[in-house]
Amino acid sequence: MRTVEELIELANAHLGTALAPADAERELTELAGWDSVHLLRLIGLLEQVLDRPVPVDAVLQARSLRDIWSAAVTA
């Protein structure tokens, strides 16, 4: 996974969300249809795709999709 856009694609494909690349910087709380259950599931999806553990504490504290991507991918 090289870009935050791929993370957004991953979420849309498995969570049924309709996120756009422009949503990458927005606060998670402002994203339509996003909730904490999505975040828990996304952690599992990221670990499957990356085939390695992600820093769960950092991802849980992320405030935007880009934060999640940074925490998960650049860790």
């Binding site: 791929e6 498995h14 259950v37 828990l40 795709v49 504490d57």
Partner: protein, 699 residues
């Protein structure tokens, strides 16, 4: 981005529906798509179905069965909702789910004014995560401290169950679960002796929880040990530590699957019949090639695996699951193969019916259902051939299809992966069902041999006895309300406890209908739920097992009731019909017996005024649980003492009837009827029909 696997057909179709915003509009298709869905598709389905507004689905499909579910628990349990939504959708049930305060199950269940009770749940899932009990144990601890904390928690849970019974709608069920014991706790003890002690006391805690279960009376306990022992990890330490989400998604997915079957069972939607393929399913070999003598279910390694599977099937049959064969083979070859292998655990008379021929399996399954008088969706079909499974999936909507494959050693696990036959409690009737259906088959062939139906009936020596249900019959009556779909005037579902409460109410006439003929005793085949209200008999529901239909029993029941009411000095009998998915045929039952249709308030079987114990016809939570129209009114009126208010409001499509008891229909001549409204013995009448003249106490 690599997708983990190519989307299978159901997944792709589901994604298309979601992308087009058509999930609500095409909700019935979702059930079909999920029937064969893999794990990822079910996961995706849960994510996109959970946010769907149930009202939107109902606006498109008002007939969709609905269940109101409250979810609470220790820790974060929101992750359960998508999984549960998908599992229920798989059974065609629409969930109205409310997730209550995270971790606050004590407050949710103890406070009658909590949001949980405001949701009016029919089922409350209280998820006990692996930190249950441990959240009150202080370091340093010994097994004794854990034992005390566990016992204290169990008592609290028992009290919460009582509070739930008092505050949730009547007939609601609270679901608890056993608590997995984590290695990260056991191994904090270094002494092997103490570790064993901890293991023992924890199992005792779980055993005590399981012993509290009374699924027919509002408390169910899911045993998670079989789930974890099958390899499902219980806890997620990272999400537990950082997000209070201690259960793994995997555990919650399995929990949801079990809970959905429990909900189906509570609603009386347990499947009734297991239809089995033969070649590669029940035995090793191909009958058409190897011949009747060449197929095996013993004697070889592979054969023995089939034999073990047959034993599992036999075990299910012993609990009332009807067995049938659907095979693409010559009927004679099948008959010989079944008859000529005494070493097979399953014998020819274990099967209620055998369909063998060269038609499609979908056709075969429908024939089985027809012969046994079952709805096709009451069937589970198991086959090792994908083509045959697809044929049944496509041709018999609603039937469950079990995917077996070329490995017979896995047949048992695959058959039991879903609890299709799960039911709150077994009755004696269940154990005897296969014998009774076999007799039914004997009657059918005897009828076929008889030139005329009336002459056939006359030879049956049919005896029908109707009288107040005895204590040991109450569970059977509840089961009839759950399992009977066609001959069911209102579709109202009742638990054994609710039947008991009704029978104990003043003026109640909760009657069991028993039948016997020269082929044998049928036991309790029907129920009359009625009540004396002033000088009227109000029939709140009337149910008869499909097994006895077509023999005049229904005519005898109605004629007998009317006669008994007149003998008791009453002036009218009232009844009501409410449409359900399956009872259209009994809409005309009352008019055919001299009832007139009435309009206006107060004509139907209203609930006893001010009664908080005897449920009115629309009062039980189960009443509306599987019926779109009753889902709301049923639960609303079921709360507190509001039953009487609900009685005056009619359910959509409801029709009320009244019989003025002037001209009574006759009891069919081939039936000897004994009917008592109360426990006192009846006086024989001139025509040999006995009808009890005693009215129930009106105290």
């Amino acid at each position: 981005m690599p997708d983990r696997d190519p989307a299978p057909a159901p997944g792709a179709a589901l994604r298309t529906l979601h992308a087009r915003g058509r999930l609500a509009a095409e909700y019935p298709a979702v059930r079909e798509l999920l029937a064969a869905a893999d794990r990822d598709t079910l996961d995706f389905a849960g994510r996109v179905l959970a946010p769907l507004d149930p009202e939107e689905v109902l606006a498109h499909h008002p007939d969709t069965p609905v269940v109101r579910v409250a979810v609470t628990g220790r820790g974060t349990v929101g992750e359960l909702v998508p999984a549960l939504t998908a599992q229920l959708a798989r059974h065609g049930i629409l969930a109205r789910t409310r997730v209550c305060g995270s971790g606050g199950y004590l407050g949710d269940l103890a406070d009658p004014n909590s949001p949980l009770y405001a949701h009016r749940p029919e089922v409350t899932l209280c998820v006990l995560d692996p930190l249950t009990v441990w959240d009150t144990v202080e370091v340093p601890w010994q097994p004794l401290e854990v034992s005390v904390a566990a016992e204290r928690r169990r008592k609290v849970l028992g009290e919460l169950a009582q509070l739930h019974a008092a505050s949730a709608p009547r007939g609601a069920t609270l679901v608890l679960n056993t608590v997995p014991l984590l290695r990260r706790f056991t191994h904090q003890l270094t002494s092997l002796a103490q570790r064993a002690e901890l293991g023992g006391l924890w199992k005792q805690f779980n055993a005590d929880l399981l012993h509290m279960a009374r699924p027919s009376a509002g408390l169910a306990v899911l045993d998670l040990e079989p789930v974890t022992s099958a390899g499902v990890r219980a806890d997620e330490p990272r999400l537990g530590t950082y997000a209070e989400a201690h259960c793994t998604a995997d555990l919650l997915t399995h929990y949801a699957r079990e809970a959905a079957h429990l909900i189906r069972g509570l609603r009386g939607e347990a499947k009734k019949c297991l239809v089995l393929d033969l070649d590669g399913t029940l035995w090793d070999g191909v009958l058409a090639e190897d011949g009747p003598e060449g197929v095996t279910a013993a004697g070889t390694l592979r054969g023995a695996a089939f034999g073990a599977f047959q034993l599992t099937v036999k075990q299910l049959a012993a609990q009332g699951v009807l067995l049938a064969v659907c095979s693409r083979n010559d009927a004679e070859a099948v008959r010989r193969a079944l008859a000529e292998h005494p070493e097979f655990p399953l014998r020819p008379d274990d099967f209620a019916t055998v369909v063998a021929g060269w038609g499609s399996k979908a056709e075969g399954v429908r024939t089985v259902a027809e012969r046994l008088g079952l709805a096709p969706e009451a069937v589970v079909f198991a086959d090792d051939t994908p083509f045959e499974r697809e044929s049944v999936r496509a041709g018999v909507p609603g039937a469950a299809v079990v995917e077996l494959d070329a490995e017979p050693a896995l047949h048992t696990e695959r058959l039991l992966a879903d609890g299709w036959f799960d039911t709150p409690a077994l009755t004696d009737e269940d154990r005897l069902r296969p014998v009774r259906y076999a007799r039914r088959a004997a009657r059918v062939s005897s009828e076929a041999a008889s030139a005329d139906h009336r002459a056939f009936l006359a030879t049956l020596e049919l005896r029908v006895e109707i009288s107040p249900a005895r204590e040991h019959e109450l569970a059977r009556l509840a089961q009839l309300t759950l399992r009977t779909n066609r001959f069911n005037l209102t579709g109202q579902r009742l638990s054994a406890e609710q039947v008991r409460q009704r029978a104990a109410a003043p003026g109640a006439a909760v009657l069991a209908v028993r039948a016997a003929d020269r082929f044998g005793d049928e036991g309790v085949v029907g129920a009359v739920l009625a009540r004396i209200d002033g000088n009227r008999l109000r029939v709140e529901n009337l149910l008869l097992s499909c097994r006895v239909l077509g023999r005049g029993v229904e005519e005898a029941v109605l004629a007998g009731l009317l006669a008994a009411a007149r003998e008791a000095g009453l002036t009218a009998v009232h009844a009501v019909w409410r449409p359900t998915r399956a009872n259209a045929a009994v809409r005309t039952l009352c008019p055919r017996h001299g009832f007139r249709t009435v309009t206006g308030p107060g004509a139907g079987p209203k609930a006893p005024p001010g009664s908080g114990t005897a449920a009115g016809p629309a009062a039980g939570a189960r009443a509306g649980s599987d019926r779109e129209d009753g889902a709301e009114t049923g639960v609303q009126t079921g709360r507190g003492t509001g039953a009487a208010t609900g009685a005056e409001s009619r359910a959509p499509g409801e029709v009320r009837f009244e019989h003025p008891l002037r001209t009574l229909p006759p009891v069919p001549g081939h039936i000897t009827l004994r009917l008592r409204l109360t426990g006192e013995p009846a006086q024989p009448t001139a025509d040999g029909t006995e009808v009890g003249a005693c009215a129930p106490s009106r105290s």
